[in-house]
């Protein structure tokens, strides 16, 4: 508990750094949103008026102070583009993002773990080499190509999935609309995951305790699925956890092609519109989420690995 409190304190300098970096990038060198808000015909008074209402006419240090205050209070005001409350944007986007991400992570992790364990067990064999080279090839194709081809073939030509869409209920989304995006995500994630997890398993397979387990007379299945897996699960779980924040914002291609109202798509939209409150909020929120997930990953690490002492 003390550890958690101490780690939470450590968030402060990091968050401050994030604030500075974000501010530097978006306020100082980023675009001026007044012009896009002004519409087709912009006269100077209108622009000034907008700039004043947005606060971008203030000196930089005032703007920075406002930003810091926003971070502290968690109130990022309203979107410049739509006047919607920023906090609400994030709240409504998180659900769909997670609806795709969680199944994607769970399925790809389980499949990759199973496959990685098998190839690690048969390391050096023809199967192993073939699967590894297959994974390398699969990894070398851009996610863009996967999306284009999967949507075209599986949804359009074969009609197995809807081409795109997002419904109102979780069940509908999960079973109907998220299926193909999740499939694409799993296919993309599988190849690198198998390669990575295989190396984790190989590290464990050569450990002394595996020999002990065999010397005890345990069956191979139990040696692999209990003793080896439990140890390899530690780096795997950490790897999965640290992927989450990146995926949260990084799944924008999938979200755009399959019309999923997720965070990634919102980020791209906000960048295109220079909608700074949204960009700032999403960046700060995701940064905080990243830190919390990292902390959670450490706690999970502790739960999985009794050796770890959290200090």
């Amino acid at each position: 508990m003390k550890y958690v409190v101490r780690r939470l304190w450590q968030f402060v300098p990091t968050l401050l750094g994030v604030v500075l970096l974000v501010f530097f990038l978006f306020n100082w060198v980023g675009g001026d949103p007044a012009y896009i808000l002004a519409g087709k015909i912009a006269n100077p008074e209108l622009i000034e008026n907008i700039r004043r209402s947005l606060g971008v006419d203030q000196p930089y240090w005032v703007q920075l102070w406002i930003f810091v205050r926003q971070v502290a209070t968690g109130d990022f005001g309203v979107s410049w583009a739509t006047n919607e409350r920023v906090s609400q944007i994030f709240a409504t986007r998180l659900g769909p993002s997670l609806t795709v991400l969680l199944p994607l992570l769970i399925i790809s992790t389980l499949l990759a773990m199973a496959a990685a364990m098998l190839v690690a067990y048969w390391r050096g064999s023809l199967t192993d080499r073939a699967i590894m080279i297959g994974c390398t090839v699969g990894q070398s194709i851009s996610i863009l190509v996967y999306i284009l081809v999967f949507q075209y073939v599986l949804a359009y030509q074969l009609g197995w999935f809807p081409v795109q869409g997002w419904g109102g209920t979780l069940g509908e989304n999960l079973l109907r609309y998220a299926a193909l995006p999740v499939l694409v995500g799993v296919v993309v994630a599988l190849a690198p995951d198998i390669r990575l997890y295989r190396s984790f398993f190989l590290d464990e397979i050569n450990q002394d305790y595996v020999r002990t387990a065999r010397a005890k007379g345990l069956a191979e299945g139990r040696v692999m699925w209990l003793h080896v897996l439990r140890n390899a699960a530690i780096p795997i779980a950490t790897n999965v956890m640290i992927q989450i924040p990146g995926l949260l914002a990084g799944a924008f291609l999938i979200e755009r092609f399959f019309s999923i109202p997720g965070i990634g798509r919102e980020v791209i939209l906000a960048v295109e519109r220079s909608d700074f409150p949204v960009i700032k909020a999403v960046t700060i929120y995701v940064a905080i989420a990243t830190m919390i997930i990292n902390l959670a990953a450490d706690l999970l690490y502790k739960a999985l690995d009794p050796r770890v002492e959290l200090e």
């Binding site: 980023g30 990894q139 863009l144 960046t283 940064a287």
Partner: protein, 330 residues
């Protein structure tokens, strides 16, 4: 025999490694030849009709040119004189008729893009661009990561704290946002920008690894021994430890080349790619979505094939290098 030569021997025994190294080398040579202008110099020539389909049979050509020139004569001048009227009349008297027509092929061996440029030539030119982007960005990221990692891991103390802070700041911001933000900052578009965007944001992973290596090595006995004989800090960092972590650096460099080649595709898709005077695999793929649904698969096929082969070869090459350099085998 030094460890490098031993590693080289081990590498030579790895058949997949040799084949992939040969492919990588072939790509590098191709890129060099393209940069030198020996191949694909005329990639921007419009040799075929728009979206010329692939086909080997027949070299049918069509004449394309100005249908409109003469027709576009105004009905009246509505009483407004043209300040250039005299000169233009003079020109029209001398330059008669159409401005000429070009001869274009109806089909190209591997197909053409929307301007009728050969997709294979584009893919070759794209190889040059993408490899330059991947390599240069990886060198930049590796340089930063290694420098920071060495400083933090070796020096410890506040230097370590500072770089760790920088690391956590950079990794807390979603990669995509970071890339977009840096891309927006460096508003000059072009290869250099892409390299900077990728390099300046991609150093974190390398930093973490190199820092860990330096933490490990700085207490190794050979480093203490170097200290004992009076070797300076700089000498220990760069002469003693660096060669011993160089396998990590090399493998990371190679991994990041692949990573950045793939990232360039995404950047291009978002419009932050290379400029129009050149072409990359990413810019070819970015054109693909609308082409594919029209059944014009050849550009996406050319770019994907060129990229998949290169990236696969590079990845397998990296694996082989990693295995060959594995210090546990030494």
């Amino acid at each position: 025999m030094s460890l490098w030569r031993l590693a080289w021997r081990r590498f030579c025994r790895d058949r997949v490694g040799i084949v992939s190294a040969a492919i990588v080398l072939a790509y590098v040579l191709l890129a060099a030849a393209s940069a030198a202008g020996w191949v694909a110099r005329d990639w921007s020539n419009e040799v075929g009709v728009s979206y010329a389909p692939p086909g080997f049979l027949g070299r049918d050509t069509v004449q394309e040119g100005l249908g409109e020139v003469i027709k576009a004569q105004p009905r009246a001048d509505y009483g407004i004189p043209d300040p250039l009227g005299a000169e233009l009349a003079d020109i029209h008297a001398n330059v008669s008729g159409a401005s000429g027509r070009d001869t274009r092929a109806k089909t190209l061996a591997f197909g053409g893009d929307k301007w009728g440029r050969d997709v294979v030539q584009k893919a070759i030119k794209g190889t040059e661009t993408s490899l330059v982007v991947g390599l240069a960005a990886a060198v930049l990221a590796t340089f930063l990561g290694t420098l920071f990692g060495a400083a933090a891991g070796y020096r410890g103390g506040w230097v370590d704290d500072f770089f760790n802070w920088l690391y956590s700041v950079f990794t807390s911001i979603p990669y995509l946002l970071l890339v977009l933000a840096v891309a927006a900052v460096l508003d000059q578009k072009g290869i250099v920008t892409v390299i900077l965007v990728l390099g300046l944001t991609g150093w974190t992973g390398i930093f973490r690894l190199i820092r860990a290596e330096y933490l490990k090595h700085r207490v190794r006995e050979y480093v203490l021994a170097a200290d004992a004989i009076g070797a300076s800090n700089a000498r220990r960092v760069f002469v003693h430890i660096l060669p011993n972590v160089s396998h990590v650096v090399l493998v990371q460099l190679s991994l990041h080349v692949v990573l950045f080649i793939k990232s360039e595709v995404i950047l291009s898709f978002l419009g932050f790619g290379v400029g129009v005077d050149t072409v990359s695999w990413g810019s070819m793929l970015a054109e693909a979505p609308s082409e594919l649904i029209l059944g014009m698969w050849w550009q996406i096929a050319a770019a994907t094939a060129a990229m998949a082969l290169a990236v696969t070869a590079f990845s397998l090459f990296t694996d082989a290098v990693r295995d060959a350099l594995d210090p546990r085998l030494a």
